[in-house]
């Protein structure tokens, strides 16, 4: 418990360090936002005036100081592109990303964990080969390609699902499936690998010898002991969900944060990039903390260690 609290208490310090790193990294990117915004037809005089208007001609430490001061008050600045407050932009889109990401994550768990259990329970069988083969395909296919294929088949040809955008529940089906593809494959493989190792342990043999049903052995004795790495991997998969969302949201015209990030990087919209990156880092850190807490709850050894 103390370990968990210590890690939670370190969060603000980590975020401060990350904010410096993100600020430096973003400003180290080649490309002048003022020129990108003004376009190549604009003369340098206009670009220079725009640079001044946006405060981009200030020294970097002054820009960071201003950013930090405002950020501490919950103000992440204004978008360089359209003058909208970053918080408004990000919070307007966050529900869409959370809904899609949450759904995809749930789908990945729903497919990955039962699939992994089946594959481990029948290790070496045709079912195992089929499932692990499918995970290989799922992990190898480019999300971009799968998305376009799905759109062509289910939207253009069959008219079953909407092509793009966010709206009713049908709009979630294709993007969530595409986004869930890679994490589902990873979770399935991790679950299978963890369970196969656990199922060889002596206490499992003892449980079987006592006459417990295979279902009970698997769910009551094997799975809880194999869950720790699965939870850790699932938490880390939040990161891959965020990067996967960049492609998915772009292709499906989903009004989420990841698409905003892509557009913002293209135009070097520093305040928006900073806001989203910090939010993503915070999300991954919180997910990792939650995973640590869950593992500690499940595994008494972890509690003792911490």
């Amino acid at each position: 418990m103390m370990g968990f609290l210590r890690r939670a208490a370190a969060l603000p310090l980590i975020m401060l360090g990350v904010s410096v790193a993100v600020f430096v990294a973003i400003h180290a990117l080649p490309g002048d936002p003022a020129r990108l915004l003004a376009g190549q037809q604009a003369p340098e005089a206009v670009v220079a005036a725009l640079r001044h208007r946006l405060g981009l001609d200030l020294p970097l430490p002054a820009q960071y100081g201003r950013f930090l001061l405002h950020a501490l008050h919950g103000d992440f600045g204004l978008s360089l592109r359209n003058g909208v407050p970053v918080a408004t932009l990000v919070l307007g889109r966050l529900p869409y990303s959370l809904a899609l990401g949450g759904l995809a994550y749930m789908l990945a768990l729903l497919v990955g964990i039962p699939g992994g259990i089946v594959a481990a329970a029948r290790a070496g069988s045709w079912a195992d080969h089929l499932l692990t083969g499918l995970t290989l395909i799922g992990a190898s296919l480019a999300g971009f390609w799968v998305a376009l294929l799905g759109m062509e088949v289910f939207a253009v040809r069959l008219h079953w699902l909407p092509l793009m955008g966010a709206g009713g529940w049908r709009h979630y089906v294709m993007p969530a499936c595409v986004l869930a593809l890679l994490p589902a494959a990873l979770i399935l493989r991790m679950t299978r690998a963890g369970l196969v190792t656990v199922l060889r342990q002596d206490y499992i043999r003892t449980a079987r010898a006592k006459g417990l049903s295979p279902r009970r052995v698997m769910l009551r004795h094997a799975l809880p002991n194999a869950l720790a790495p699965i939870i850790a991997v699932s938490a880390l998969n939040i990161g891959s969900l965020i990067s996967g969302a960049v492609v998915t949201e772009t292709v499906f015209d989903w009004p989420g944060v990841a698409r905003l990030l892509v557009d913002s990087v293209r135009y070097r919209d520093y305040p928006v990039i900073q806001g989203i990156t910090l939010l993503s880092v915070l999300g991954v850190l919180l997910a990792t903390l939650a995973a640590d807490a869950a593992i500690a709850l499940l595994d008494p050894r972890q509690r003792r260690m911490s």
């Binding site: 080649p30 376009g39 190549q40 789908l107 909407p162």
Partner: protein, 530 residues
């Protein structure tokens, strides 16, 4: 609002989706009986402020909201718009515009001479630092209101001041909206459609302006959405998620040819475009500092092949400095657009580079196929082209780097495109004038020639058409000889329109005009128009 829980439940039974057809047009019909047109573009608008942007896609969005003093149609002819008449002084420096009476901005304020003058003064105000203001600040010295008219005073005569005042950047905005400071997010003009909302990441919506001074639009609503993926634009046209897509990638045009499945739902339209694709040669970097070498590179390009291979025929080869539709522009002579390898080799040998050399080109992803084609073509004269594909921000840094930085990086060539609204000066001055040498402007190869500078100024100021035409011709001949830039082709404006949508036009600068569009009876949503 997203409903994650509902969506999760629904996802457990995804097959159910198969039982419910959800074609875009049916959804449209179900949700509303009003006539709405959805336009899908390749990028979101950059701003709702016409003076603070310079992108073709943004201009298409802004067109129904704003109007200019004079209007240019798809043939290039000028018509009165917010100004009903105009006169100029004998020296061409003072232009007086009579403002149409009874005009109102969408915010309800009067659009009179005072408002028009305020809008134009804002455009040339250096403190406003508006992205599209450059050329106006250079040309217009003051704007005054005089007895109900607006008087625009120029720093020097400018022959094409009327076409210049017809471009979107010169659109008249509500001074009250400008003072409020949110014009970048909320359009406020006098146009036939009123801005409704810009939902970031989703769409821009507009509704018919009931108080419009001109003919009432046939449509009730307009909506713009966007996707950067060309295949998504194509699919949206087929499903009905979009009524108009701009651009439609030429590679998809065949899907809508007569007899094809796509032809039953949509058609491909094309119009001569202003987008000139060109390669700027670094005239400060040997051996490109030798005009013979530059000419040789130009002669080795098969422009017909570029148009056929990269544009699938949707364009025109560009052999000279100006877009062919600009008055006085030279067109490709018969056979000129093909490669002339023997002449190119001879020129290279004369320049002492018969054994070839290597140059590096900085290019963005969309233009990379051009670089690859040039790489193959120049192999025939012993020139090796090293392609450096760069992300947009990196490319801008490379392209607008000063001579010393380009020399250090070994950047010999930049490939890009330029869209000038058919005003010769807007193509010549930024690309060829000494004062525009990067980083100050888009003269990316640092070309400098006093005679060319003088001719550019003369073309801009000369009001006698015959003299102007002759000066332009001489200037193009000089640029052909110097070859600081290799014009490649002019891409057509290619867009897709669903069957039943009428009255959509493309201006010569690539802007799609939908304000006058209507839906044929068969394309009207269930219940028809209200």
């Amino acid at each position: 609002m997203p409903r994650p829980i509902l969506a999760s439940v629904a996802l457990l039974v995804p097959l159910v989706a198969g039982f419910f057809p959800v074609r875009g047009d049916l959804l449209h019909a179900a949700e509303s009986r009003v006539t709405e047109l959805t336009v899908m573009l390749a990028e979101p608008p950059r701003s709702m402020d016409p003076a603070d942007q310079s992108a073709t896609a943004t201009r298409s969005v802004l067109a129904p909201f704003y109007e200019t003093l004079v209007r240019q149609d798809e043939t290039g002819a000028l018509h009165p718009a917010l100004a009903t008449a105009w006169t100029s002084s004998a020296d061409g420096l003072r232009w007086r515009f009579a403002i149409r009476p009874g005009l109102r901005f969408h915010d309800g304020t009067n659009c009179d001479a005072a408002a028009v003058a305020a809008s134009l003064r804002r455009l040339i105000d250096p403190k406003a630092a508006l992205a599209g203001s450059g050329i106006f600040r250079e040309i217009i010295s003051s704007v005054e209101q005089e007895a109900g008219d607006v008087v625009v005073t120029l720093r020097h005569p400018y022959a094409e001041i009327l076409p210049l005042l017809s471009v979107t950047q010169a659109a008249i905005v509500s001074p009250r909206a400008a003072a409020r400071g949110d014009l970048g997010r909320h359009a406020d003009g006098t146009g036939p459609f009123v801005f409704v909302a810009w939902r970031q990441g989703k769409d821009v919506r507009a509704a018919r302006n009931p108080a419009y001074w001109g003919p009432a639009p046939a449509l009730d609503r307009l909506r713009w959405v966007w996707s950067p993926e060309p295949s998504v634009l194509n699919m949206a046209l087929q499903t009905g998620d979009a009524d108009i897509v701009d651009p439609l990638a030429p590679v998809f045009a065949r899907l809508y040819a007569p007899g094809e499945r796509g032809a039953t739902v949509a058609q491909v339209r094309r119009a001569p475009g202003a987008a000139l694709f060109w390669a700027a040669l670094n005239t400060k970097l040997p051996p490109l500092d030798d005009s013979r070498v530059r000419r040789a590179l130009g002669l080795a390009i098969d422009r017909d092949a570029l148009v056929a291979g990269l544009l699938h025929g949707f364009g025109r080869p560009a052999c000279h400095a100006l877009t062919p539709d600009i008055a006085g522009a030279r067109s490709c002579a018969p056979g000129e657009a093909r490669a002339h390898l023997a002449q190119a080799r001879a020129l290279l040998a004369e320049a002492g580079h018969g054994s070839g050399f290597t140059i590096a080109v900085a290019v963005q992803e969309p233009e990379e196929p051009i670089a690859e084609a040039l790489q193959a073509m120049w192999r025939g004269i012993g020139v090796t082209l090293e392609i450096r594909r760069q992300e947009a921000g990196v490319w801008v840094q490379s392209a607008f780097a000063p001579p010393e930085a380009k020399r250090r990086a070994g950047t010999g060539m930049i490939i890009t495109s330029w869209s000038a609204p058919f005003i010769a000066d807007l193509q010549l001055r930024p690309l060829y004038a000494s004062v525009s040498a990067a980083p100050a402007g888009a003269n990316l190869g640092f070309f400098s020639d006093d005679a060319v500078d003088a001719a550019i100024n003369a073309v801009a100021e000369e009001r006698d058409p015959a003299i102007r035409r002759q000066t332009l011709d001489d200037l193009q001949a000089r640029l052909d000889a110097q070859a600081p830039i290799l014009p490649l082709y002019n891409a057509d404006t290619v867009y897709g329109v669903r069957r039943g949508v009428e009255g959509v036009t493309a201006l010569r600068d690539g802007e799609i005009i939908v304000a006058g569009a209507s839906l044929a009876e068969a394309a009207l949503p269930a219940g028809g128009a209200p």
